[in-house]
Symmetry: C2
């Protein structure tokens, strides 16, 4: 059965029950808009994924796609020091898309949202040209009264720390590209369904983190964004990063392991700078210094990682 076999109402009737509500939902799906109980300072972010660019149907189940688009968005909420409240979702689909794909997508999305405490508030379904399948989520969150943690707050002398894994998603993708996913299924699973350390965002904010973001395009590229916004240099330690590379090396080889750690995106771990003590759950990987860009043991690194329209 494909989307062309159902009316919009029939399709919504199959999707909506798979999606979590919540106590903050004042008006849920089905009206012109949803209404959500929010704080005075409301976080908003949006992130899309496109088949053929962000996922391949032979490598990711529809549930993987749903879980991943939620993770991407909620990692941005966490990277401000926030907590997710709710989200809306857009599906742009060729009418030949199977209903089973959409149901699986809704299951993965709903499960990830439920786990994170985010209500699914509604969305939009649109038909798209032949072969096109794209999903987009917009997430809302709250700072629970804390100040937002911007990219611009890092100061020379701060410690640079990471919460979550590094390079696993990129290494998992490499294994899929090489046709060897069985070499390390945990890495492949991270590529399919990244598990950002969402609770570490507010915890870091409470601990006085400054210059925080989630690593979506690679450690060097995203680190350079903190450096640029803060007017500082991030000097990373090869020794501190070595365990992350060592975790990957048996599956992808030592050189690619380092490339994955430094340039691999889509993992959505958190990178932050701390003037004071670094909270549990965070690992120090370098220091903030005067200067510009990202260094590795003092040596400037060329930006690496994902750019959306160029490679």
């Amino acid at each position: 059965m494909t989307l062309a076999d159902l009316t919009e109402e029939q399709l919504l009737a199959r999707i909506t029950p798979r999606l979590p509500g919540g106590p903050g939902v004042l008006v849920g799906p089905g009206d012109d808009t949803a209404v959500l109980r929010c704080d005075a300072a409301t976080i908003i972010t949006t992130d899309a994924a496109v088949r053929g660019r962000d996922w391949r149907d032979d490598w990711s189940t529809p549930g993987d796609v749903g879980a991943k688009i939620v993770a991407q968005n909620l990692a941005d909420v966490a990277a401000m020091g926030g907590r997710p409240l709710g989200l809306v979702v857009t599906l742009l689909a060729d009418p030949a898309t199977t209903v089973a794909w959409v149901e699986g997508f809704a299951d993965g999305l709903g499960e990830a949202a439920r786990t994170a405490g985010a209500a699914v508030l509604g969305g939009d379904l649109s038909s798209a040209p032949r072969g096109t399948l794209a999903v987009s989520v917009t997430a809302l969150g709250t700072l629970d009264g804390q100040a937002p943690v911007l990219r611009s707050g890092a100061c020379a002398g701060d410690q640079v720390a990471v919460a979550g894994t590094l390079g696993r998603s990129a290494a998992g993708l490499l294994l899929l590209e090489r046709g060897r996913p069985e070499l390390d299924e945990e890495l492949v699973a991270t590529h399919r369904r990244p598990q950002p350390p969402l609770a570490e965002g507010p915890r870091a904010g409470a601990a006085g983190a400054a210059g925080m973001l989630d690593i979506s395009d690679g450690l060097l590229r995203d680190g350079a964004r903190i450096a640029s916004a803060s007017g500082v240099a991030l000097d990373l330690s090869r020794e501190a990063l070595a365990p992350y590379a060592a975790r990957l090396a048996p599956a992808v080889g030592a050189d690619d392991a380092w490339e994955c750690v430094l340039g691999g995106g889509e993992e959505h771990s958190l990178l932050a700078c701390f003037a004071g003590p670094v909270p549990a759950g965070w690992t120090v990987i370098g220091m903030v210094r005067t200067g510009a860009g990202v260094l590795l043991d003092g040596i400037p690194q060329a930006p690496r990682g994902w750019d959306h329209f160029r490679r």
Copy 2:
């Protein structure tokens, strides 16, 4: 120059200055998320548009596409009785898309948002398969302390009223399809850039409106949604609708004029039911009765209008 010729940062540097901010924007574009000053009850809605389905490049300028996607979203905010605060925008584009298209789109979007008092808070840029161009907006709004006006509040005995025009967008589209846009450029302009009566939404809410929505898929189809949600029938008056059809008839002919009034979507006028006096700016077009569905002078009408995956 195409998107493939620029980095994401270079493209953003060309787009962001075209977009309005506002006093409620606590953190604007450029960080992991935006932060917006919101009320306890925050409205959220999302709506997408896809080239080839929602617009044709030979009929709509990029600025038209930007203005229209804002109008669609803000009409949903108005249809809850709300006022827009801000929006985020997603662009999924073939890298061969021209930079000029994206700049024109941002200009049209920015102008429509500025006029409505909505800040543009950020968004997402993603590359898409060859030939694909899609845009998506998520809008946030406030009820300013009023209760939301749902689709479900209509009661037998209420008057049914409309704010804004009827059928002009569909008639304008017909003229484009016939290659005769010069027959009535005002109709074509409504198709390209609908102007929903956004201020009438909160005004209707304050006047006690119940059973309100914006007409995005056609008067009969959207009217049936109010009827279904409220458990009533909407009995429309041919005499009250005749002036709307008469406006269109010289350009498209009398029969198609009625089809446009009853089935034409994308105009985003507001339809609401009132137990008490109907405010200025609203025109009574029928009565709410016991029963189900939409009637015309007491005669049941089959649903007509747009369905996203079937026609």
